[in-house]
């Protein structure tokens, strides 16, 4: 048996110091598992301003937090951050580390797992827990979403996994009476920092488009034909209170920014409702959205693979169906 104890959740923060949703979602999921074995859920927060995130993790299920702060953490650097995680792991020996599978999480996770010589399961979409062994069963898609695999890490600790944002919901908990924040000051020598950011080309949309957190997504693909036609998608999204998504073909054509892209090389989403308009549904697109609760497809080709994942579909021209649908919903909602 291992001595290792407690579930850690790595909390990624935004520019303003608040926590990203992915980490907060994992706190609740960790809490469900931990409550069966009477251990703690510890939020690990690294950054140069972490106060907002600390307040958030308290609410969403962490029973304590470790905060690593200092100027050296003001921008993300793999070596600097990995060192901070590993130092803490060595000191406290957690049983499990959960990391949200964002681009940062999937850069940091393998670096840390490599250094700790332990197993890491990538991009999980569901988690099980074997209480006796305190072992996590990590389930994830492979082969572009064609196969699901359940993976364990039996003989190494900590057990590590990255988990897709959006697959679990954030849950509020009563603030733990013993909640404490351990603040750590871990230095990293400047001369060992081997890369630096010279320019950030913020995708104006990246901050505003929250596909991962969206409950309703209306996506458009190459079937739209030209950039102006995204207006049809925007209008439908607006009457539904949804967010606009897209396929990669539309992004590559320059019709819409990358922030909107859903799929293997874009965002992985799990809304309550996903409407695909003029999207064929290639496996790389499905990989990012097949976990949606309800999928509606609008496509003029009845053999389009998108219909194999659709709960509702119409074989028809999106230029008639989409505006009509928008009108219908407007009327229904008295907009």
């Amino acid at each position: 048996m291992f001595e290792n104890k407690n579930f850690w959740v790595y909390i990624e923060t935004k520019e303003d110091g608040s926590a990203k949703n992915g980490g907060l979602e994992l706190l609740g999921q960790a809490r469900e598992m931990v409550d069966q074995v009477d251990e703690e859920v510890i939020a690990l927060i690294i950054g140069n301003n972490v106060d907002k995130a600390v307040e958030q993790v308290k609410k969403y299920g962490a029973t304590s937090a470790i905060a690593v702060t200092g100027d050296v953490y003001s921008e993300y650097n793999t070596d600097v951050y990995a060192n901070a995680v590993v130092e803490n792991v060595k000191e406290y020996q957690p049983n499990v580390i959960l990391i949200s599978a964002t681009s940062l999480g999937r850069d940091l996770g393998p670096r840390v797992a490599g250094r700790l010589a332990t197993g890491l399961t990538a991009d999980c979409t569901s988690l099980g827990f074997e209480v006796d062994k305190k072992e996590v069963q990590w389930t994830r898609p492979a082969f572009g979403g064609n196969l699901m695999a359940t993976i364990i890490c039996a003989d190494h600790r900590p057990q590590m996994g990255t988990v897709r944002p959006g697959v679990f919901e954030r849950k509020e908990y009563e603030i733990s009476p013993n909640f404490e924040v351990i603040t750590k000051d871990i230095d990293f020598p400047q001369e060992k920092i081997l890369s630096r950011i010279v320019e950030v080309i913020v995708d104006e949309d990246a901050d505003n488009v929250d596909l991962e957190g969206a409950e309703i997504i209306v996506s458009g693909g190459r079937g739209l034909g030209k950039p102006e036609n995204f207006k049809l998608i925007e209008e439908l999204a607006e009457v539904l209170g949804g967010t606009v998504g897209s396929s990669r073909a539309a992004v590559d054509a320059g019709w819409i920014s990358h922030a909107h892209q859903v799929g293997q090389t874009g965002k992985t989403v799990g809304p309550k409702l996903y409407i695909a308009c003029g999207i064929s549904g290639q496996i790389q697109h499905l990989a990012g959205m097949s976990g949606s609760d309800v999928i509606i497809a609008i496509n003029k080709d009845e053999n389009a693979p998108i219909f194999t994942v659709a709960d509702y579909g119409i074989v028809g021209d999106l230029f008639t169906v989409v505006p009509k649908l928008t009108e219908r919903i407007k009327k229904k909602k008295n907009l």
Partner: protein
């Protein structure tokens, strides 16, 4: 400038279908290809070589079964200088930790032949496993720093640093990275095709093989199925929807009415 590109042969996952009855993957007839993201990585290396043909050498290496030789030949045909196949029964069943460990040992061996590497390129992820972990884990084993999700790379004049554009959740980030460095690539411009001449030449080219015995001091507890911290305990095909309500009507108005009716019945708006 000596560049190692790590490439993997994978089934073309866009061609894989699920047998709806047996619920297994239909792999028959599915072609094996060079992993898409590795093709991007190779293309980026080739573009550096285009700019400075005399001073850039590209070595490709793959761990896998004998049949991966075909893919390595394809890499030679588009312009890689030499190719290595890392193959041994003992390596089978390796997870990302074990794979990256073996690759790190093999790289040291290849360096004896080719000179030390200035940069290592990987794909962002292999499209069969989709883990995106081998690159960073390899960097860790080698003690190199890593730049992930690259879409473009240029070198400064004296080849001591690289400017790399990364595509991440927040947008694009340009970083200046000191060389040596390991870079993983996510996307690039169009790929090139090999000329018939080069294709023919590559058929006869030598693919150098590296086996277990060649890797001195390799730690047996870190390789293969036994050396892999993670283990697959179950695999299954995701449920495919067979009960979706798909409206096909010749008359568009009628189709729309039916469609809207279904959506309303389901209280979707």
């Amino acid at each position: 400038m000596n560049i190692l590109v790590c490439v993997k042969q994978v089934p073309d996952t866009t061609e894989i279908r699920i047998d709806p009855v047996k619920k297994t993957l239909i792999r028959d007839g599915v072609p094996s290809i060079l992993n898409t993201f590795d093709a991007f990585a190779l293309e980026q290396a080739l573009q550096l070589k285009d700019k400075n043909p005399a001073n850039v050498k590209i070595v490709v290496a793959s761990m896998g079964p004998k049949q991966a030789e075909t893919m390595l030949r394809d890499c030679l045909a588009v312009g890689a200088n030499s190719a290595y196949l890392i193959t041994d029964r003992k390596f089978g069943g390796s997870d990302t930790y074990a794979t990256s460990y073996i690759l790190s040992k093999a790289m040291k061996k290849i360096e004896e032949e080719e000179g030390s590497f200035d940069m290592i390129f990987c794909g962002k992820q292999a499209i069969d496993g989709d883990t995106a972990q081998v690159g960073p884990e390899l960097a860790e084993h080698l003690g190199l720093h890593q730049i992930t999700y690259a879409i473009n790379i240029t070198l400064n004049e004296d080849n001591t640093t690289a400017l790399i554009t990364r595509e991440v959740d927040e947008g694009k980030i340009v970083v200046e990275a000191r060389i040596p460095v390991l870079v993983t690539f996510t996307k690039t411009d169009d790929l090139r095709f090999a000329s018939i001449m080069n294709k023919m030449k590559s058929k006869k080219a030598e693919i150098k093989e590296i086996n277990y015995e060649d890797l001195e001091g390799i730690d047996d507890t870190k390789i293969g199925l036994k050396g892999s911290p993670t283990r697959v305990v179950k695999s299954f095909t995701p449920d495919v929807k067979t009960d979706g309500i798909i409206i096909r009507e010749d008359d568009p108005n009628e189709a729309f009415e039916k469609f809207a009716e279904e959506l309303e019945k389901a209280k979707l708006y």
